[in-house]
């Protein structure tokens, strides 16, 4: 069904445009991109239909700052409709060809998981789950580094800046962070041999769960459920750690999909109280930045200052999170 819509869209809109632009040499890339954008539209529709009623039903806080929410909508559209991914694709295709050549020259042929474990052949759901687990494990550690390294926190704190967190907040990231994430996920997926046909489905799963976990909804999955899948309460507690005026906080809840990783590495907290979110010391719209462009610009400045710290500069400049046990 989706395949038919995709073919129709491509034939009636995309291909004629590419033909008129004289870019037929890149027609196959355009086809890949059409798929991405279409999945993005479907994804946004599903997320909105699922999360918005939940937000309306049991909001954590009132929707006071419409402008902040609209900015997050822009982040979401840029990322999920493929505008940024397309840009990265154009920039990084030579790099990925190089990486692939490197693997080959080292004699490494990526194998699919059911080639490692033949018993998994014919069990696509289990295979899919294993892929999701491995990628989530990789994401868990990337996220911990985002909080642990000064320069990386300078970028990632943009994500934490949002004080009006909603279902749109997941894609609120600095573009440099989007780049590292795309490269990291792509490389890991290639190493464990995720088939390209499966990869969009994994991205879809991550997108659905992560949008839900940012939703402005007083929702948890219960004593057991909260330990199986990341819930809005679980992730809101992560967003609270950078914003605890006058109260020490413990870094926690880094996982995107499975709290399992936080439980294994001792960073899980299931007692979240739907606390306020944001970054300590950065609370005015001027400090956070109004709109996408300003936020990107401020984030880049923080990043540079973290890389080249001025002598005697305050290490906590621009809001430093509490780094606990």
């Amino acid at each position: 069904m989706i395949g038919d819509i995709e073919a129709w869209l491509f034939e009636t809109l995309v291909q004629p445009a590419i033909f008129e632009l004289g870019l037929m040499a890149y027609i196959e890339d355009a086809f890949t991109w059409t798929q991405f954008a279409l999945w993005g539209v479907i994804q946004i529709a599903v997320i909105y239909l699922v999360c918005r009623p939940l937000e309306a039903w049991r909001p954590v806080e009132p929707r006071a700052d419409g402008a902040a929410i609209r900015t997050d909508v822009i982040y979401t559209l840029l990322q999920r409709l493929g505008v940024l991914p397309l840009l990265f694709f154009v920039l990084f295709t030579p790099l990925s060809a190089w990486f692939d050549g490197l693997l080959r020259d080292a004699g490494y042929v990526p194998r699919t998981i059911d080639q490692w474990v033949p018993a998994l052949a014919g069990m696509p759901l289990v295979t899919f789950l294993i892929y999701a687990l491995v990628l989530d494990f990789a994401e868990y550690w990337r996220h911990r580094l985002q909080h642990g390294l000064n320069w990386w926190w300078a970028l990632h704190s943009l994500h934490h800046d949002q004080r009006q967190m909603t279902l749109w907040s997941d894609n609120r990231n600095h573009v440099l962070d989007d780049v590292t994430q795309a490269m990291w996920m792509g490389a890991v997926a290639q190493l464990i041999g995720v088939e390209p046909g499966t990869f969009p489905l994994l991205v879809l799963l991550f997108g659905l769960v992560e949008s839900l976990s940012h939703a402005n909804a007083r929702i948890a999955f219960g004593r057991f459920g909260d330990r199986i899948l990341v819930s809005p309460r679980f992730h809101r507690e992560h967003h609270a750690i950078a914003f605890r005026p006058g109260e020490p906080a413990r870094a926690c809840n880094f996982a995107a999909l499975f709290p399992l990783w936080d439980m294994l590495f001792g960073t899980a907290r299931f007692d979240g109280r739907f606390a306020a979110t944001g970054v300590e010391g950065r609370t005015t719209p001027e400090a956070i930045g109004r709109g996408w462009l300003m936020q990107q610009w401020l984030g880049f400045g923080r990043f540079l200052r973290a890389l080249v710290p001025a002598r005697g500069a305050d290490r906590t400049e621009g809001g430093r999170q509490h780094e606990g046990a």
Binding site: G3, D4, E6, A7, F10, E11, Q15, P16, F19, G22, L23, M24, A25, I27, E28, F31, T32, A97, D100, G101, R104, D105, G107, V109, P110, T112, Q115, E195, P196, G197
Partner: protein, 329 residues
């Protein structure tokens, strides 16, 4: 007369059937370039009967000169996979073949040539040991940009290659590994076909709507044959003296007479027609419809698309393996 011919055919089939018993259905192998697999299709039932992982981005496939193995080139995987054409089983994987996007053997079977679309080069391998499933790299010829399709001269000395992004074509001396000429042909060129006399090339101009008639001496464009917007790939039907030419944007396949270079018929087909092969004694034309994730079967007489067979994502190369049973139809 007719009866005699039928009797002879029946006898031949009987003998073939005895040798190749048990008779098995014909098999089509289709490369799903967008999902790293190939589909196996039973040519009797027109149904996909299996799907196997193969490696990253398989685009084209061809039989070895002795017709024993089917070679699949994984463009991003940088390897060649030897497959049994009758069963679809993998026999061997040959590593360190850089970006084998397009493949071909010289008519004298001595050389194996690949066009590396992603890496901008044409590689020449010594094919002496292809019977042992081995290849030795002889020349690596950098050429810009996006070499995509190959055609070999009867002398086995020259190979003609289209350069998709450069919009040009080139002739390469296989033995010396040198470029003989390179010339502009038109925007985004793709498939090409060498006339039997060896004097002219027909080159698909994908960024436009025609085949360019090109002089093999120097690459000069002599004429144009309008076939359809997004003209992409050519396939020769020797029995009818025709070329089938796909047009990706117009979604047509044009039949072009190989001696007069006139379009004799235009078939309306599914989205993004690409690689083709004729089947059942020239009755059917099978081709991949890339944008629709399927293989389609065109009845060349009636001009109707008689089957649409769902396969994987972005199906590209196709190979049909007939046997006694299917040949009898």
């Amino acid at each position: 007369m007719r009866i005699a011919r039928h009797a002879a055919l029946a006898a031949a089939l009987l003998i073939q059937g005895l040798i190749a018993a048990p008779a098995q259905a014909g098999l089509a192998i289709v490369l799903n370039s967008g999902e790293d697999t190939y589909s196996l299709i039973d040519t009797d039932t027109y149904k996909e009967i299996g799907k196997k992982p193969v490696g990253r981005e398989p685009h084209h496939l061809m039989l070895t000169p002795d017709k024993r193995d089917l070679l699949i080139g994984n463009a991003v995987g940088n390897d060649l996979v030897f497959v049994n054409p009758a069963t679809g089983d993998v026999i061997k994987r040959l590593d360190q073949i850089a970006d084998p996007y397009q493949l071909g053997f010289t008519p004298d079977r001595k050389w194996f040539v690949t066009a590396a679309l992603r890496l901008d080069r044409v590689d020449v391998y010594d094919a002496k040991a292809i019977g042992e499933r081995k290849l030795t790299l002889v020349h690596r010829i950098p050429i810009k940009t996006m070499p995509s399709h190959l055609a070999f001269a009867a002398d086995s000395r020259r190979v003609f290659v289209t350069l998709q992004d450069a919009g040009s074509a080139a002739a390469i001396d296989i033995v010396d590994g040198k470029i003989l000429w390179q010339a502009k042909v038109g925007p985004d060129v793709a498939g090409l076909w060498l006339a039997p006399k060896g004097d002219k090339l027909l080159i698909a101009v994908m960024g436009s709507d025609h085949l360019a008639v090109v002089d093999t001496k120097d690459g000069k464009v002599l004429d144009k044959i309008v076939t359809g917007k997004g003209t992409h790939q050519l396939y020769e039907d020797k029995g009818r003296g025709l070329l089938y030419v796909t047009a990706r944007v117009d979604n047509t396949i044009a039949a072009v007479d190989t001696t007069t270079f006139k379009v004799t018929r235009v078939y309306k087909v599914g989205p993004g027609p690409d690689c083709m092969e004729i089947f059942r004694g020239g009755k059917e034309l099978w081709y991949t419809a890339r944008w629709a994730k399927r293989v389609e079967v065109l009845d060349l007489e009636s001009g109707k698309v008689i089957k649409k067979i769902p396969v994987g994502r972005s199906p590209h190369g196709i190979h049909l393996h007939p046997d006694a049973k299917t040949a009898s139809r």
